[in-house]
């Protein structure tokens, strides 16, 4: 009786163990997120991960699992997840066809995870590299909102 339960449990936790995007968040592909950001008038939050990335897994478990982080990031940003080794093809609003790995190259995601806040056109205005704690993500949100407030023209 216990064995089927353990198999099911292993299946359920596998995506987390393989450092996919965190659960409970509405992540889009990078190209779709750019379109969404334009439509919704929100900045992009882009998570550059990699298959098997241990530090991504750690950040998912220790920071993105926090309810406050989840509420803030889901409501204030359009979320994009990029697998920096994937050949998955995207089409940017400019018409350029680009693979996810090439998006990682373009935004210098040479380590993972890398987290970037971008404008809808892909201009980076805040970047965080490596493992993040709950307080890091909350602090980054404040910094980004302050930057956005400062750029609003009277």
């Amino acid at each position: 009786m216990l064995r089927p339960f353990l198999v099911l449990l292993a299946f359920l936790i596998m995506p987390v163990a393989l450092a996919d995007k965190p659960v409970g968040y509405e992540f889009y592909t990078f190209d779709k997120a750019m379109l969404q950001a334009k439509t919704q008038g929100k900045p992009l939050f882009v998570y550059f991960g990699r298959y098997g990335c241990g530090y991504c897994d750690k950040t998912n478990k220790e920071a993105f699992s926090d309810e406050q982080v989840r509420k803030i990031y889901n409501s204030h940003y359009v979320l994009a997840y990029v697998d920096s080794e994937s050949g998955k093809r995207l089409r940017l609003p400019s018409g350029e066809r680009i693979a996810e790995r090439e998006v990682g190259t373009r935004y210098n995601a040479f380590v993972t995870p890398v987290f970037t806040f971008m404008t809808e056109t892909g201009e980076v205005f805040h970047r965080m590299v490596g493992v993040q704690r709950i307080e890091d993500l909350l602090s980054a949100h404040k910094i980004v909102q302050q930057k956005l407030a400062n750029t609003v023209k009277p």
């Binding site: 920096s84 400019s94 066809r97 693979a99 373009r106």
Partner: protein, 407 residues
Amino acid sequence: MSLNTVLSGIVMLAITPLVHAQPWEFKEPVQVSVTSGPGIFHHLESSGRRNIAVSGDVVAVVWEDNRNGTPQIYLARKPLSASEFESETRISAQGEAFEPSLVSLGNGDFAVAWEEDARIFVRLIGAERVGKALMVGRAEAYQASLVRHHQQLLLVYAAAGGKYPRIWLQQLAIVQGLLRKLPECPVDKESARDEQLYPVALSLGDRLIVAWEDRRPGHTIIMAAHSNTKSLCNFSTPQRISEGPEKSRAPYGKGHGVARVALAGYGNSQGMAVWADKRDFREGYDVYAARYLTDGKSLFGKNAKVQDSFGGVAQQWHTAIAGNDAGSLVVAWDDNRDGDADIVLSWIEGGDWSDDLTVEAASGVGIQSHPSVFLDNDTNLHLVWSEREKVGGPTRLRYLFGKAIRP
């Protein structure tokens, strides 16, 4: 004599041997495709990065671009003696086409494989005519890579096969100028335990070697298997060829990342694999290589870093490799050690990897990336790359001929 003069002299003495050690004298770069401009993006992408080849006295380049609104495959040829490429030929049909792989068949003939609407197609390209496109392999197929093996044409590709994509070998014969399908088989006899991606094949004498990305340990590794001409589908048990870091440098988690293996043969049946490798995870991807072994135990030997120490803090991407029967071997990649991406080369010199050479005509202002290389029998270097003025801007394709300098 001032201190500056002395220092300048020391610097010149240090640099001079490197300059003289360059094995090629580079000519002026040439534009490959006349079609470029706003909204047009060229892609030099193929599994194994085989987008340029020389056949007889003709050099050819294949790529994908979106000039008519959908991604299509094009080929341009240039007689070696000509100063410009001839008008390009569209190779793909009406679907969305990607990642063409080019191989030389000799006497000015080539073959191209590409993906179109999730199927693989192969076409012969002669001096006088373009053959009919032949759909080969399985459904939901992608990442084609071609190699010539004696009188056969061999295609490796990834295709859906169970839960995960798996690497397949499709054998092809050329009979009176026409392609004919021969048997196909999976390279790994066992069903894939996770994704198998981006294969490339190498013909070495009677051996066929296939390498690919494999995600079975929960992160990406490079694996390889080989077979021989008597039974091409009877592959050895796959072996991991990308090593892990030393334990003290192991990353947290399942393991480090690697990407996009390429293979080349050189000299008397020697082979080399290169790939991007993040085992020094704080420095990003580096270029690593391993020699094909014939000792009957391991398929490939100990891994070695290809780039020199000046590349340590920079990132290396898009690794390509080429070799020839004369025993020369060159690796190309793009590298941001001087700011924006430039094309960098390293080659086998005295049994070891040379100091890196940033190619002057493929560096400087703008972004020079995605190289593909070919070494002809005279060890002349043929290099093609993508160039753009700014991130996200339109691209153009450039070709450079490096004439071998005789020692």
